[in-house]
Symmetry: D2
Subunit: 318 residues, 4 copies
């Protein structure tokens, strides 16, 4: 199937542009195949280059609308400071040379998009647009945002199963998840700093749904032979009537990219749809797509799904 | 924990009464430990004896309300005929000696309860009160009904997971479930005729939720060493983007009786609550408790759960 | 990889010959794509045709040696009678028209090979050459035999794991195996009569190794979407110190034909090697290849492996 | 069952003696419930106290023979130095006050036993008697040694399954094992320093048997709710004919202490048996009991078992 698209993909080669590695972390930097690209200068310089690429792409294909979706490798966690709460201060900081990084690469791409009024989706746990100054810029530029971290496999199952245990009043004692896979994403997550970002978005779902905190453990390991086949074993220990301990285990064998791809396509459509209707800011009705939905504390997949169907019903009713 | 209740349980010995085996099937009949109890006579004779037991129990414990819940072993499927659609004809048939059984044992207990205006819950896949004449009697006697077949483990998971696959547009290719357990219920289900009833309620859930029919296989086997530990392996084969086949498997190790017990207690409370409020007929808002909910075609657990919370919200709003 | 062999395979088309369905059972007969081929006549007529095909194949490719390996679909169990113990009587019976089948198809192919002095391997649980008169013919024609039923997956694991439990004195309570797959073999085994043959060879291994009989259950189901991916779930329940019950489960996801193919190749080599050395009769040192090894009651895989390495060591020592 | 032994166990209270924590590591030290016991002084002082306890125990129960088996928590890895190769130098060092620890606690118990001619078994991955000077002392005192790290569950399965893959020429690509449990042992292994010792003995088995190194990952996590129920998920990725990737997974749910206990009892018997026969040094025929058998590089469980049965056969033949 993929080979049928080969010719089209090749003709799109000119759309693949060198990016920026500014503060993307060592694990990602080591995988870069264009060390010749200049990475220095002030951050706004990188933003300028990225914006030029966005605009050239739109012009080349004569597109009415554009949407930017971050599916790059997960960056290490980035510590927010005062400057990230104040759009003015942020602009100033991005235009000056600094020793301390102002923003990681994912956020430079985000700012570049938002500043041009382009919808931006963060399909990874990287910082992207998830800080107050970015939200303020989106309001100013009247564009839409969504994220963060696509919910494709193990976490999707958590957000489906945890409500069941809650509704049946089966108290969870522990939930252990072990993930193995061997694609580029896995290679980057093998670095403990990058993995940390992922574990944060994966680990909060269960206790958020339950309202109490069972012991939870999530681990991710890079296993080269698995390629894109993300395999997860989850061991769920729970307590039934009279305190009796029982066990549910599941095994997930999914092709990671092919689980993500249709979500990315749907997100692109839903972002463009919202922009056309003049919506602004974080699209909370897209919560069911994400492990850590922006602006939404609800993690129950079926309640998130209800938010999406309600949104559709309201738009149809207009 | 159970031993702490031993004295109370012993003092209740007088409440354990010989029942009827009329048309309960060979597998159940062979396990009966009171072959001396007379099983002959017309069916209404058995109903009379059962009603006397119900009333003696209520008098002995000075109870305001009573609820009858069928948790007996699963009977073989029972073929419905014209007489089961007509309450008058059924009454006549039950009062006459016949060669062809008019009703199985589960339905005699149901008729006995309903005829006295006692709420009746069918926690098994046996016939119980799931035929038109029984519903008509419930209307006449102004009592409430619910059933059928408690959703405790593997089927609960099906009704939770199938909607997830549907919402993510992951097409199911096949769903194979293999159940093993060693309690009395397992012993009876080892008879292919009784197993047939169970497989029917277990097997319809997935395709009903999806709206199309993947290959489904459900098997149940009696494994003595497992006692009450019902163990299920489910292999779910599905197709993602570009037709790629992926797999989810789960293993459920639950203590069957202790999963059923709290549902039975909650059902008793909810039945009595509804009767006090003057409700009549099948309580469709209890669908989330059952594999094959009476009067409801919805199998999605979260939609069923929503029916229950809506019911509660409405009653609170009065 | 397979497509690289396509041209060679196509040029071998003339080697694919219509066979016989005499007594192969209904399930196999329904899958036949050459209903035009005459299936009547006396059994020896079919043997004659098969022998002519063997000889034409050998001549066409100018081969010094030939080996016949049965990898056809599993036939239903075949009841042996007096005639199968007596080579003379069998010959007579095969040459006469009969109402009661004298031999199933697998045995006609076997007799055809043995009668020409060609080594014969039965990689299936079908009857093949596993009866006294066939052994007598192998002695007479001075050829070698091996079988029966290739040990490729779940049963291989049983013959590896059961000795571990025995050596650790962990008493097995029950061993449940559930197999699902969707290839032609699975399609034929979906017929309960053919499945019966398979279950017989699969179910004896555990108790034979242990010396006592825990409860064992083996089931096989045809699941179309799995194609050649044979998936097995085994639940092993055992008792440790102080009677404590513990559980091991395994999941096997193997490509059935590709597990069988290298064993078939090795068997061909080992059969030809033995024939060259003048060995005659059943080759018991090949036990590790089979679920139900001819002439060997040992099912412990590592003892069977030892038989093979001993054989090699002895031949090297000559 | 255990409660039946309660009285005997209580009467043995006087046999439970405060030990030494010298160099046992922080994780173990923090769990100690007798901080009042003096831990200072030279190492040989601790050995003296331990020897007095051994002798008092033997006298109290009038025992002909004694055996010491280390089942204490796993210590962090201990770096060997020149002094551990020279018995004379070691004795001197143990008798002097030092800043750098000479031996960890497990080895002080070992030296105490060996010095009295008492057989010593190391059922843990701690250092114990696994260094040249301890072996020399065993030769001098004419006593027997065995170890190290009891093979009870996941590693036992590795040493059983890896030979199967090797014999079938199925190339292993990766073997991932994830272990969770909640007993005291798990609590100590939660400390990365102690876990390191365990991972070393667990991780070498597969590649040692295969003769090449697939990617192997072993992880251990402390999950409180599991208590003594050690649960392991192993994902074995292997390559069959034509490079086709296939998967075997197993789930082990064993009660850790009850898997270890009978091995400990058998080891005690076999050590005393060997000592009575005048054997000296490391008992290599006990390899099948250990993850990392002293003096033996063979990890194939069935070859190790053969070593034990050969030993028995030889002794019976005398």
């Amino acid at each position: 199937v993929i080979s049928a698209c080969l010719e089209t993909l090749r003709s799109w080669d000119t759309n693949v542009r060198p990016g920026t590695l500014l503060n993307a972390g060592d694990a990602i930097a080591q995988l870069a195949d264009r060390p010749d690209v200049h990475q220095g200068g002030v951050a706004w310089g990188a933003i300028d280059r990225i914006q030029a690429d966005y605009q050239a792409f739109q012009a080349r294909h004569r597109l009415d609308q554009l949407v930017v979706i971050n599916v790059a490798s997960t960056e290490p966690p980035f510590e927010l400071r005062g400057v990230h709460n104040d759009l003015g201060a942020l602009r100033t900081a991005l235009a000056q040379p600094t020793d301390v990084p102002v923003l990681p690469a994912s956020s430079l791409y985000a700012i570049a998009a938002i500043d041009l009024g382009i919808p931006y989706v963060n399909f990874t746990p990287s910082l992207g647009a998830t800080f107050p100054a970015a939200l303020a810029l989106a309001q100013e530029r009247k564009t839409v945002l969504a994220g963060q971290d696509g919910k494709t496999g193990e976490t999707l199952l958590k957000s489906v199963l945890a409500p069941m245990f809650a509704h049946r009043n089966l108290r969870l004692l522990s939930w252990v998840g072990h993930n193995i896979f061997g694609n580029r994403d896995g290679q980057v997550l093998n670095d403990p700093r990058n993995k940390e970002s992922k574990l944060r978005t994966k680990d909060q779902v269960v206790s958020s749904i339950l309202g109490y905190k069972p012991q939870t453990l999530v681990s991710i390991e890079y296993v080269e032979s698995l390629d894109d086949w993300k395999t997860a074993w989850d061991h769920v220990h729970f307590q039934g009537f009279l305190g009796t301990k029982m066990i549910m285990q599941f095994l997930w064998q999914g092709c990671d990219s092919l689980l993500a791809a249709p979500l990315v396509i749907d997100l692109a459509r839903l972002m463009l749809f919202a922009q056309q209707r003049g919506e602004i800011g974080v699209l909370t009705h897209l919560a069911c797509f994400f492990k850590n939905p922006m602006g939404v504390s609800e993690h129950d997949f079926f309640k998130q799904w209800h938010m999406l169907t309600e949104y559709v019903a309201q738009r149809q009713g207009r």
